[in-house]
């Protein structure tokens, strides 16, 4: 069968072949069938779809295979966390935070506790600060690994999914030995953590940190210089720095476009300015840069974790404030006053002073903001979660315009969205 090859520029730089000339790809020539020009198709992706990373629905207007317009529909997972939070006491909201970004639950737990502690004016202990930094960086790796596995699987590299999940299993074990649960950790309480680190946990973590970079290197050899991976991700889904800032993108999506904004550096919390780490910033704002930024972030998180483990101080994990912290169980069972204290804290909930506070942390997806408003009671008046994926996803229509249908999947995957946080 004779095939006619046409060099068809689809808006990206063609790859140079071995002989230095542009690689020519046989495509269906556009000018041959005039009556098909201008036909637009309506394609619906989702909400039940293997590659949408959750219950996301994309309606695409296609001109042949090129996307003219993309209209995302969300709300298929709207669990009204914010409304539910108004009916739960301050500590009862912590389990809700796990279920929003279920890929990095510890980050949400910590961010929420930090926001309420700021509102209440509570300063946690030094040990608690370092433990929370450990939790957040560990979950950053955790979330990026899932992103890596599912993105690679969407683009076709299934092995990476298995490698990434094998590493995630080790982090699941760490979660479980600390908090009792693999995913829905509910690890923080207002004023501290649910418990102190168990014996040997830091050794397990050190072992993980020693062996994890090898797996990361192995995955890099599979992907980073792979021509198929580059071809699918380079110059795909480009967004400029000005557009990214205007559209509210945060996290690796923003940094890949060249904007060096990281909450850990720009509004440091928990002594992040004393840790020695770099923030990778990309150049082109395409999917490949987002991939590179996240890979490097994982390595930087390993660096931060090692430093945090070295500086982990001894001492109490919970702040010594009877307004918020439960007394030790042994005292509760033996001492009347402790029992009454325990009763009041549990049944009535801890009370926050009237006021409001906004606290943002650098989550794996972007800038996670927690805005809590209190009227002096034990339940919030308003609990608002600024989920980074919600705003990142709103940039998707702009990023996919002019790209092919298969690029939509790649771009969607590179945004690293989690629907629990989008729909809340």
């Amino acid at each position: 069968m004779k095939t006619r090859t046409v060099e068809y520029v689809v808006g990206r730089n063609p790859e140079l072949g071995m002989d230095g000339r542009p690689v020519q790809v046989p495509v269906f020539p556009v000018g041959v069938e005039p009556e098909l020009q201008g036909e637009r198709m309506l394609i619906n992706i989702g909400p039940q779809h293997p590659a949408t990373h959750g219950v996301l629905r994309l309606v695409l207007e296609l001109d042949g295979e090129t996307v003219v317009r993309c209209i995302p529909h969300i709300g298929y997972l709207h669990s009204s966390f914010e409304k539910l939070g108004e009916y739960r006491t301050w500590n009862q909201i912590v389990p809700l935070t796990d279920r929003m970004d279920y890929l990095a639950p510890l980050i949400y737990n910590c961010a929420y506790a930090m926001a309420v502690e700021k509102l209440m004016g509570i300063e946690v202990t030094e040990r608690c600060k370092v433990v929370r930094v450990i939790c957040m960086e560990l979950d950053r790796i955790f979330s990026h690994l899932l992103w890596l596995g599912t993105t690679a699987m969407d683009i076709g590299a299934t092995t990476v999914f298995l490698y990434a999940f094998q590493e995630r299993e080790r982090i699941y074990s760490l979660h479980e030995s600390f908090t009792g649960a693999r995913i829905t950790t509910s690890a923080t309480r207002i004023g501290g953590m649910l418990a102190d680190l168990p014996e040997g946990w830091t050794d397990q973590l050190r072992h993980f940190l020693d062996t994890f970079p090898e797996t990361l290197d192995e995955i890099e050899t599979l992907l980073t210089n792979n021509q198929i991976w580059i071809g699918r991700t380079k110059d795909v889904g480009v967004i400029s720095a000005e557009d990214a800032i205007n559209m509210g993108l945060t996290g690796p999506n923003l940094r890949a476009s060249g904007v060096p904004y990281d909450v850990r550096k720009d509004r440091p919390y928990y002594d992040y300015d004393t840790y020695d780490f770099d923030v990778p910033v990309g150049e082109h704002g395409d999917c490949y840069d987002r991939y590179l930024v996240r890979m490097e972030e994982m390595r930087q998180s390993v660096r931060i974790l090692k430093q945090a483990l070295d500086r982990l101080p001894d001492g109490p994990i919970n702040v010594d404030d009877p307004r918020v912290i439960l007394p030790p169980k042994a005292d509760v069972m033996s001492d009347m006053e402790s029992m009454i204290h325990h009763f009041k804290v549990v049944m009535e909930g801890i009370k926050a002073p009237p006021g409001e506070s906004w606290f943002s942390v650098e989550s794996s997806k972007g800038e996670l903001g927690m805005y809590v408003v209190s009227d002096g009671g034990s339940k919030p008046v308003r609990w608002r979660v600024r989920g980074p994926s919600f705003i990142n996803l709103s940039a998707l229509p702009k990023m996919v315009e002019g790209h092919l249908l298969s690029d939509v999947i790649a771009i969607n995957a590179s945004l690293d969205i989690v629907l629990g946080e989008i729909d809340r």
Binding site: L84, R88, L162, Q166, T184, M347
Partner: protein, 225 residues
């Protein structure tokens, strides 16, 4: 050699199904083979919405491999799927999608409600959440947990295997589907209201942030919910 007909059965009206009448030796052997084939390669239809979907993915990954049950081929097309695993919370916006996917699956099909949210609404007794997907589709196995561990999901799958073991081709009602019920809810409206009533601690969790007391219900509309 034809089928062995039991005496006294011929005068019964022919029932719909492959083998009218009760089980006989040959039909039980055939059942064994058919059920063995069906259960040893259930292709799951992963209806993963939230956190449970991550545990389902972990169950599909190397540590808790469901490929040993023949289930590694996740069928995202309902037409080729046997087992719908609803992993995660289902909102009322998502409910018609779930029902349609279920209707599109050809018989024989089974459903697992994985997790507390799929089984009964979980922590989310709120305006937007379906209080248990059994109000939408018929469920065979409920796997409790929030999220259930992959071993829990595997146990649920093994329970489905047990269920399949007990099936028979001579019982057509097991695989019967009423075309009138396509796209409709699985339970009667009264039953839905009954099963969705708040229970346990949920009854006292509808107080807004009262400034002082723990008894006053600030929003009258919530009092009778």
């Amino acid at each position: 050699m034809g089928l062995i007909q039991l005496k006294g059965r011929q005068e019964r009206a022919v029932q719909p199904g492959i083998f009218p009448g009760g089980p006989a030796w040959l039909t039980t052997k055939l059942d064994f083979v058919v059920n063995w084939a069906r259960r040893n390669s259930l292709w799951p239809m992963p209806f993963g919405t939230a956190c449970c979907a991550i545990e389902m993915m972990a169950a599909a990954a190397s540590k808790y491999d469901i490929a040993r049950f023949g289930m590694e081929r996740m069928s995202f097309s309902p037409r080729q799927a046997d087992l719908l695993i609803c992993a995660g919370r289902v909102t009322y916006k998502m409910a018609p999608v779930l029902r349609r996917i279920w209707d599109q699956m050809p018989q024989p099909k089974w459903a697992i409600a994985m997790g507390a949210c799929a089984s009964s609404g979980g922590v989310f007794d709120v305006y937007s959440m379906v209080q248990g997907i059994d109000t939408i589709i018929p469920v065979d196995v409920y796997v409790p947990g929030c999220p259930p561990r992959p071993e829990g999901l595997i146990y649920g799958i093994l329970l489905v295997h047990e269920k399949i073991r007990g099936e028979s081709l001579t019982r057509p009602e097991l695989r019967a589907e009423d075309p009138e019920r396509v796209g409709k809810a699985n339970k009667l409206p009264e039953v839905i209201d009954q099963v969705a009533l708040p229970f346990g601690n949920s009854t006292s969790q509808n107080r807004v942030s009262g400034l002082v007391s723990t008894a006053a219900v600030a929003r009258p509309l919530d009092r009778k919910s």
